[in-house]
Symmetry: C2
Subunit: 439 residues, 2 copies
């Protein structure tokens, strides 16, 4: 029987083995008093198993405040727990409830974080994963050998549909590949969704007729389900290529339903993520998170950016980008064997299930971070988003887009920010304008 | 223009005013470089406003680890931020992204928790709230003047549909009001959903024919959306009265779609909640959380229980129960005025939008906690769940159910656990059997 493996970082005032066993019990056949029907045979077949315990450091202050330890010590460890696929079948919400459900309630833990999950090959038969992914998004935008360059309509809210369309015209003519609504912009009275699609696609279709290039616009369809489906259809009918969903606000069932429609590349916004991740000993790490959304079929997902304006470290961003580029399933060997290995993801895009998901680099990006981003990730398979860096460029938005492309060319050349600024006068100016705010 | 008010507990190394302004900016018209179109008029109309700042204590260690403060101090405060309804319209996922989205990413905060949200009267015109709620669930189960008594099928997973039905028969004959699937039990190969409904409803329909009492069974329909709708329809067709959703795993869009179908009382399981709430300075508090799910239309929601087996304090459980019984909307006065006042919720149940949601008390409950639960909440408007406390009762499940009813009668009499055990011999035995584990 195939098994699902989940890796947790834990902290406990108890013996690690005892705490791990409590987790496995709570998340499979456990109850606080033995009940009839809880036979040995049933437990053998359905019980979650603690597969591995790797003790880490001991600390004297608990990760989550308010805990007491009789011995004054808290033990940290990495543990691997497994479940038979038979427990949940191929059901995404029940998978989520199994690996990140009630276990966070257990008093045995003063810290608990889901680090990664490993899904057996049979999942590839039930979950297609991203329909478009990296290869599909490149095809739709006709961008090769460099990141897709994108931006967000700002101000986030308040623009009329005509003002939005005027901005889109400017950006399209500037040579942008991708534009998106802000996550705060859904279907408000001052910018009704259908009217916004009409205005924006009028511009982008005309631009495509003239130039042959269809700019990808991710319309924020996040809403109740019927409205999302109506809005999705409106985008398809209007010649659009993408829709955006706020993943945490819409949820797995709604997101999967939308992704399954299969006609648009789905841009996954992770707003609310800080709440799930920001404490080092609570919640979920991005490698596990992006796998769950890839199962839902999301094509693009936010990973923050190097030297971002938020709290996240560069190391964490680099790990997130790497996670997106790994295959979702290990289809190479025995069921439930080793963690998925890094493969050439080009071969995975398209027909093979579990294709890589396009990492969306954003938050305070102005171009100068390209050098460090490439140095650390060695990939251009990115959607690179800049806001003010384009619209507030001293020589206008077209110069802003050219500047971003130039930064990426310099990054792929292997130059550092300083070397790039020294070699290319326009990048020097870019540093002078944006270097302080972005750095 | 109506406004939405959200209350946050924050901690910041900066001046509180500055941090609060950053939150308001990020969640409305902010961008890190001023862009064209960000006019004063637009900002006036759409900007989020900091309405109130109440400074709390100063601390020297940050709530979320890894933060530095130049002055070595971190200031805590409660702040109220408001948004015009015009920003998001009546769109639940966009509301969620607005009040609990990117703000958790802001480096300005070493702690941030959404404590409550106040929704203006126009929301009552767009969101019905619970279709059944407390009054509807009482009507369906024919239970008056005491809590609904319920239990969970255990072991959580592994039972065949025949074994499940046999257990249901025992419980129905024991006089139970409510039974539910475990959240780990969805539609696995060893207990296919349709077959489980057939087996269980065969028992419960026959029992209803005999006794006139239809036991409510919350079948866990959590799954992808099409499957949820199929399973919902199956329950309706089979004469069932309830379905269960794992709220965090299904998400707002899927849950709202299911609740809107309106034929079944929806049991909302909050597994995963610990991840959103367990740190005192991160995530969301239950008063805000239950309001969002009530907007989706959920009829019953888990609140943990007094002296539970998990980490949560009794105080927190008491606050959660009180929150469920408050009206969702303040329809009494001026738009966006004072927080909703406690009203007689009986008058709200049914036709009025925003009816109270039935609090589901569970986790290690065996009956003895009834006294303290009633003393502190003064309500019997509860679904009181006991697992082992019923099935493992020394005189069998019927005695277990009777014992729970007796405990509640004693609680309403005003007795403490000790007084109840002294007065009623069967409760004394209950304490002897379960008192240690439950307490």
């Amino acid at each position: 029987m195939e098994r699902i493996f989940a890796t947790y970082l834990i902290e406990t005032p108890l013996a690690v083995e005892k705490a791990a066993a409590a987790l496995a019990g709570e998340q499979s056949s456990g109850t606080f008093v033995a009940v009839p029907g809880e036979t040995e045979e049933l437990k053998q077949r359905f019980a979650a198993r603690v597969e591995k315990i790797t003790p880490l450091e001991t600390v004297t202050e608990p990760g989550l405040p308010g805990f007491r330890s009789p011995g004054g010590k808290f033990q940290r460890a990495e543990i691997v727990v497994s479940w038979p696929v038979e427990n949940m079948g191929w059901n995404l919400p029940v998978l989520v409830s199994t690996i990140q459900g009630n276990l966070y309630e257990l008093a045995q833990f003063s810290g608990l974080k889901l680090m990664d999950v490993e899904l057996p090959p049979s999942f590839a038969g039930h979950f297609r994963g991203p329909k478009f992914g990296i290869a599909g998004c490149r095809r739709l935008t006709q961008v090769e050998n460099r990141p897709l360059i994108g931006t967000i309509i700002k101000p986030s809210i308040g623009l009329t549909t005509q003002q939005t369309a005027a901005l889109v015209k400017t950006l399209a003519e500037a040579g942008i590949d991708f534009i998106k609504d802000d996550e705060l912009m859904g279907n408000p009275p001052h910018s009704p969704f259908d009217e916004r699609v009409d205005s924006v696609m009028h511009v982008l279709n005309a631009h495509a007729d003239r130039t042959g290039k269809k700019v990808m616009y991710a319309f924020n369809i996040s809403d109740e389900l019927d409205a999302m489906q109506r809005h999705y259809e409106k985008v398809v009918q209007s010649g659009g290529t993408s829709a955006m969903i706020s993943l945490n606000s819409v949820g797995f069932a709604g997101a999967k339903k939308i992704c399954d429609l299969g006609a648009l590349a789905i841009h996954g916004h992770r707003n609310g993520w800080g709440m799930l991740n920001r404490h080092p000993l609570l919640g979920i790490e991005f490698p596990a998170y992006q796998k769950l959304w890839r199962l839902a079929g999301v094509d693009q997902i936010h990973v923050n950016g190097i030297a971002n304006k938020f709290w996240e470290s560069d190391d964490s961003v680099v790990r997130s980008i790497a996670a997106c580029l790994q295959p979702l399933f290990d289809l190479s060997g025995a069921p439930g064997a080793a963690p998925a290995r890094l493969q050439n993801h080009a071969q995975l895009a398209g027909a093979v299930p579990g294709a890589p998901i396009l990492p969306v680099v954003s938050s305070g990006q102005w171009g100068g971070q390209a050098c460090e981003t490439f140095r650390r990730t060695q990939t251009t398979d990115l959607l690179y988003m800049a806001g003010g860096g384009i619209m507030a460029h001293p020589h206008g938005p077209a110069a802003g887009v050219r500047s971003l492309q130039k930064w990426w060319a310099a990054a792929v050349e292997g130059l550092t920010l300083e070397q790039a600024a020294q070699k290319y006068p326009e990048l020097k100016k870019s540093v002078e304008k944006f270097g302080k705010q972005g750095g």
